[in-house]
């Protein structure tokens, strides 16, 4: 407790950066993920291959390597801080997993839905965004929830590149207070404060949407 009081400013600033990084990555990865899921399912061979390559590549490389790639290599060309490179890497990495979830969701929707929408005069884009995708998201919700919680926890990757996030501050506190155990205990609690409500929101959405089906 004394440790927390003493370093609370550090913890809260780290907490802020973790929330910010998570929010940005959440929005970005949902958009990117959906986009690449659609690419993967495209009738055009080339586009489908492109989407597939993107997902397979990002999904099968450790997050740390993607982060370091942006921090150490890309930063030489385009100036970016540790926070930016970490958040970009996190968005890309998570988007690959989200693409898989959304793709599974779309595949689970009966073909009749698409055919029916097309037969009623909607364009492919309209049919996708108005009819198929909303249903697909409902189906994909449990696994999307998983990805989002993972995203929040994975944001600790920022600590490796000086991203000022919760884990980074936790490292600093641990190193200067010499009380490694309590420092990381506090960090863990902060992550719980973020992820537990997120879990409940996802659960609530699941139940709520189930009813409206």
């Amino acid at each position: 407790m004394t440790l927390f009081n003493h370093y609370s400013a550090l913890f809260f600033s780290g907490f802020g950066y973790t929330i910010l990084a998570s929010l940005i990555a959440l929005v970005a990865s949902l958009i990117l993920g959906t986009f690449f899921a659609l690419l993967q399912l495209s009738k055009k061979r080339f586009l489908a291959m492109l989407g597939n390559a993107y997902v397979q590549f990002l999904r099968n490389v450790p997050l740390l390597i993607i982060t370091l790639f942006f921090y150490l290599a890309v930063a030489k060309v385009i100036k970016m801080t540790g926070f930016v490179s970490g958040t970009v890497a996190l968005s890309l990495y998570t988007s690959a997993f989200i693409a898989e979830s959304v793709r599974a969701g779309i595949l689970a929707i009966d073909h009749g839905q698409m055919e029916g929408a097309l037969a009623n005069g909607l364009s492919y884009g309209q049919a996708m965004s108005r009819v198929v995708l909303p249903q697909a998201f409902k189906v994909a919700l449990p696994s999307l929830g998983n990805q989002l919680i993972n995203l929040v926890k994975n944001s600790s990757i920022l600590a490796f590149v000086g991203g000022l996030d919760l884990m980074y501050q936790g490292n600093l506190v641990a190193a200067s207070s010499f009380d490694t155990f309590t420092s990381y205990l506090v960090v863990g609690l902060f992550y719980l404060v973020l992820t537990l409500p997120l879990s409940y929101v996802m659960q609530y959405l699941e139940e709520h949407l189930q009813e409206s089906r």
């Binding site: 921090y71 030489k76 000086g162 490292n171 600093l172 641990a174 200067s176 010499f178 537990l196």
Partner: protein, 289 residues
């Protein structure tokens, strides 16, 4: 109704789980606390006939893992081996050294948990640290210095005293205090270790690295485009760290250190490791007898 009940149950269960984890955590912390109170390092060394040293794995010249053998090699490691032998002689026992990799944030915790007996890992003696660990006499003269690109035009840390400049340090080193004192306006970014700091410097994530001169010389030896400038900021020697309140072990270590300095072993090791550094005057490091 049924659903609400279920949700309530889930929430209560989650809360209970968190509470349980917390209690477990505090219990473990307490146990660790008690552990350290009852353990005498010297007694443990005598009983196990071993000294477990915490050494660096990423610091050239002091403790750097040899990729062939998988073992740390460097001045710290060699001195720890010599000290183990000497302490063994003093106790009339055959002692074997063993080495555990440590980093800045784990070294003290590992001492407290008694995973290791002593830390020999480029650790600067400071007042704050002396509150939680016991230090031996200084075993290596060091001080913070500045590493920059040769073509950067930076001559001293004063050139970096500006909010637009970023100074890179390694986590849990004394460099943070030095920068705060010498260049309070500069931004400070802590990386995981010296290797990461060097990579970040190369990638342009900062303008300079501040850390101990001896470590910077090791980095220069591998990266000829970089140089150490501005001289030493404050004398801050290294010491061997033991768990708090271990007068027996500290006394043995100091005695052994003195013997090694007298019989020339210390100077031999200094020569072995530091004669390869360009532009370093060895007589600054050697002990005059």
């Amino acid at each position: 109704m049924e659903k609400n009940k279920k949700r309530l149950f889930g929430m209560v269960a989650a809360l209970l789980l968190v509470l349980f984890l917390l209690l477990l955590g505090f219990w473990a912390a307490n146990r660790a606390h008690e552990n350290k109170r009852h353990q005498d390092t010297l007694e443990r060394v005598k009983k196990t006939k071993m000294i477990h040293w915490g050494v660096k794995t990423d610091t050239k010249l002091f403790g750097l893992v040899n990729t062939k053998s998988g073992q740390s090699e460097g001045f710290d490691v060699d001195l720890a081996k010599a000290l183990t032998k000497q302490i063994g002689k003093q106790l009339g026992l055959e002692l074997t050294p063993s080495f555990t990799p440590v980093n800045a944030s784990s070294k003290v915790q590992l001492l407290k948990n008694t995973n290791i007996d002593g830390v020999m890992a480029v650790m600067t003696i400071t007042k704050e640290r002396a509150k939680v660990v016991d230090f031996s006499n200084p075993y290596f003269p060091a001080g913070n210095a500045l590493l920059v690109r040769k073509d950067s035009g930076v001559q001293s840390i004063k050139d970096l005293n500006d909010p637009s400049k970023t100074i890179l340090i390694a986590l849990g080193t004394t460099a943070a205090d030095t920068v705060k004192k010498e260049a309070p306006k500069a931004k400070v970014l802590a990386l995981q270790d010296y290797a990461s700091a060097m990579q970040a410097l190369k990638a342009g994530q900062g303008q300079a690295i501040v850390t101990d001169n001896a470590i910077l010389y090791g980095l220069v030896a591998e990266n000829p485009d970089y140089q150490v400038v501005g001289g030493i900021m404050g004398y801050a020697p290294y010491g061997i760290a033991f768990d708090h309140n271990q007068p027996g072990m500290v006394k043995q270590a100091n005695q052994a250190l003195e013997s090694l300095e007298k019989d020339g072993t210390y100077n031999t090791l200094i020569k072995k490791w530091f004669s390869q550094v360009p532009g370093l005057d060895l007589s600054q490091l050697e002990v005059q007898s």
